[in-house]
Symmetry: C2
Subunit: 171 residues, 2 copies
């Protein structure tokens, strides 16, 4: 299998795609067909948390529009032969600490089971880090569930350091 080509930046972001006015944009199409959130559910932790029914749960549609409307959110997909095989969300957060520095935050990294171990996740995360540098961020951060041992090794190989505890409170 040839490695999937990472989409070009201009096609990666839902937002950019929409700005470019492409009616057949793959990310938007993937979302509307339900393929995007099926990928979120293709995972031992995601399975119990997502709803893969069609028509789309209206919560997903509302969230998609909220992300699309926010210039500080980038939701990207990696596409291989018209299939979504990877996703990543990147948020840019302004702050006063660390000399008023911006930070990039990575969430929702998912690679389909049949496209792992070929460097696609690394490509996506390195793309995100480059975006952060381009926007002048001083820091990139993310959290990963402690049970995801593969993910922890993956981020450590990319240079991330687990200096922090990641706390969650479900409401």
């Amino acid at each position: 299998m040839s490695p999937p080509a990472l989409c070009l930046t201009a096609r990666l972001g839902f937002r950019q795609t929409v700005q470019h006015g492409e009616r057949n944009d793959p990310p938007g199409g993937c979302f509307r067909s339900g393929r995007y959130h099926r990928l979120l559910a293709d995972d031992e932790l995601g399975r119990s948390r997502e709803d893969v029914s069609i028509p789309l749960n209206s919560n997903y549609v509302a969230a998609f529009h909220a992300i699309q409307a926010d210039p500080h959110q980038l939701l990207v997909v990696a596409v291989h032969r018209e299939h979504v095989v990877g996703t990543l969300q990147l948020s840019f957060i302004p702050g006063l600490s660390r000399l008023g520095s911006w930070r990039g935050q990575i969430e929702a990294v998912r690679i389909t089971a049949d496209h792992r171990r070929i460097g696609l996740g690394r490509n996506l995360v390195e793309w995100a880090i480059a975006q952060c540098r381009e926007r002048g961020c001083q820091l990139v951060q993310l959290t990963t569930d402690k049970r995801r041992l593969d993910a922890r090794r993956f981020y450590e190989r990319l240079g991330f350091v687990a200096t922090h505890e990641g706390y969650k409170l479900l409401l």
Copy 2:
């Protein structure tokens, strides 16, 4: 010493305060006088990372304006007798995972040394959690440096669970 009153919601946010057009707003005033980021530096980890010189480092001014302009960022201060004694930043992040749920993210929690252990931090964080509920977030998250043992106990008492590793990459 009487406990400092937590500012009313309407006065807490830089953004709200500015919207209300108050010229003497304590948060904005605290920021412009340099008192806000002196608080960020009043800490074993912050000391080496911040610049407390006056006039303000222009990076802080740019960051302040970026936060002020973003409706998904709330930067709040607790004021006691005209002094800033606590701060917290709350970011609202949309996402497709977990059924398209919003999450609230807490950053930059700081309490001055002479106002700790009187429940002020708890008040600030509980205020933030209430804001998250009000906006329909399903989750509140934060990371804290593993070396901050007091902070870890503090968040655990508030119900946060350290299910995640918090990774950082300095650029």
